[in-house]
């Protein structure tokens, strides 16, 4: 059985549906990119997958022994986080919260896990620094390390590179690719169709036309060709 099976899912706000009849599956090790125009419902889909809001209809089946608290999530930054007085270590460690259950304090294994993930993301030297004093790219790596503390299996990323410069963006993407190569399933929302088609194994395009398939199928498809052409045209206009 697949990690996630989405059956006939409808989602939206207050019974006004944005997307209806969505079907797709996510298998272990897959790198799924969700693309689509602004306002097409990408963030809404991710929130629904995470259980932050209820679907209007249909089902999300979780399989392969994946537990609800084994999902990692990299949200878009909120304003609250920007001026929060917290050290990098405290934030990364808070990713272990789901392992604690009702136990009030973190144990040795969890502290070690946090240290390992900081090492993995190359932020060990910032451990005692304040989150709000870091650059945008460093902050994203902190949040990624936190997400890795919450999961070994699946990561959901909502536009992980928005606001980063090209060099840091490239670093971020190769970091994510490396995690995928280590066996972590990735579901990522991206505005950047070029990168999506470079790294992803599968593409989910949402909007007036819904497409789900492998990257190669997408590049051949009507929707994909049209979207790709538009995006490139749009960029040339800038």
């Amino acid at each position: 059985m697949a990690l996630l099976t989405i059956q006939n899912l409808s989602l939206g706000y207050e019974s006004r549906a944005i997307i209806e009849g969505l079907n797709f599956t996510v298998n272990e090790g897959q790198y799924l990119c969700i693309v689509g125009e602004n306002g097409s419902g990408k963030t809404t889909l991710m929130k629904t997958l995470l259980g932050l809001q209820d679907p209007l209809g249909g089902q999300i089946l979780i399989g392969d022994g994946l537990k609800k608290n084994e999902i990692g999530y990299l949200p878009q930054q909120t304003l609250v986080q920007r001026d929060f007085p917290a050290s990098v270590r405290e934030i990364v460690l808070s990713g272990c919260q789901s392992r604690c259950g009702l136990r009030p304090f973190y144990n040795k294994a969890e502290k070690q896990l946090a240290a390992d993930n900081m090492e993995r993301m190359g932020i060990t030297q910032f451990a005692n620094r304040c989150y709000r004093d870091l650059s945008g790219g460093q902050q994203q790596r902190v949040l990624l390390a936190r997400a890795l503390c919450a999961t070994q299996k699946i990561l959901l990323l909502d536009e992980p590179v928005s606001g980063l410069d090209p060099k840091v963006t490239a670093e971020m993407y190769s970091l994510i690719k490396k995690l995928n190569d280590e066996g972590i399933t990735i579901i990522m929302i991206s505005h950047d169709i070029e990168t999506a088609t470079r790294y992803a194994s599968h593409i989910l395009h949402i909007g007036s036309n819904i497409f789900y398939g492998t990257k190669d199928e997408y590049l051949e498809s009507e929707v994909g060709r049209f979207f790709l052409r538009n995006q490139k045209g749009g960029e040339a206009d800038d």
Partner: protein, 281 residues
Amino acid sequence: MIDKLVFYFQFPFVRYALIVGVLIAMCASMLGVTLVLKRFSYIGDGLSHVAFGAMAIAGLTNLTNNMIIIMPITALSAVLLLRTGQNTKIKGDAAIAMISVGALAIGYLIMNLFPSSSNITGDVCTTLFGSSSLLTLSVADVWTCVILSVIVTALFVVFYNKIFAVTFDENFARATGTKADRYNLLIAVIIAVIVVLAMKMVGTLLISALVIFPAVSAMRLFNSYRSVTICAVVISVVCAFAGIIISILAGTPVGSTIVAVDVVAFIFCYIAGMFVGGARA
């Protein structure tokens, strides 16, 4: 001056005042960071108005311990305010304003219709700005305060990591399986307890100051959640202690004296923060 202090300390009610004041200051400052950053300050503010109304109602009953009435009403309102604050359909802000201003008006109305003493203006002033001295505390008041402070502190320590996770990023906590609603509820109820506790000392209008000033001061100086929280508690306790001593010596109203000391501490921290920040950069 020292002689005068020693003289005052012979009286048990002076010692009670100090114990109660320091405990309340400690509890109020612990959740300050969470409140400020979660934009929950409005709940503290709204609750203090509700507590005013509840106090007026409690005045009708002639109970010796009016906490029995005030505490449940305030805690219930905390839950309600939290719900409406999260509800996007009804305008959250408007609902809170309605509840808190409504409670204020009804409270004042009740106090006028059923005056418990001839000096209504004095009563109202006491409820809003705290009693002119803390020296009217009974032994029962002191024990209530000690027990509630211990409970609040214990809850805060036990749920410290969870409160941090929910404050820093509620969506992440929720998505990874933490029951965020439960902890929001816990935070709201703790705020209610603190508001009711602090009401006697600083009055309903000044409670927010007790919660917010130490946290904001500490945030100027420190960079991690833990050190900010510890620093806020220390600042708050020191200010409350100093404020009470000053108010005894100078005969000033205790609540506003404490808040004034908090303001001075904030100015100090603000200036010190500029130097610390300069050194860091």
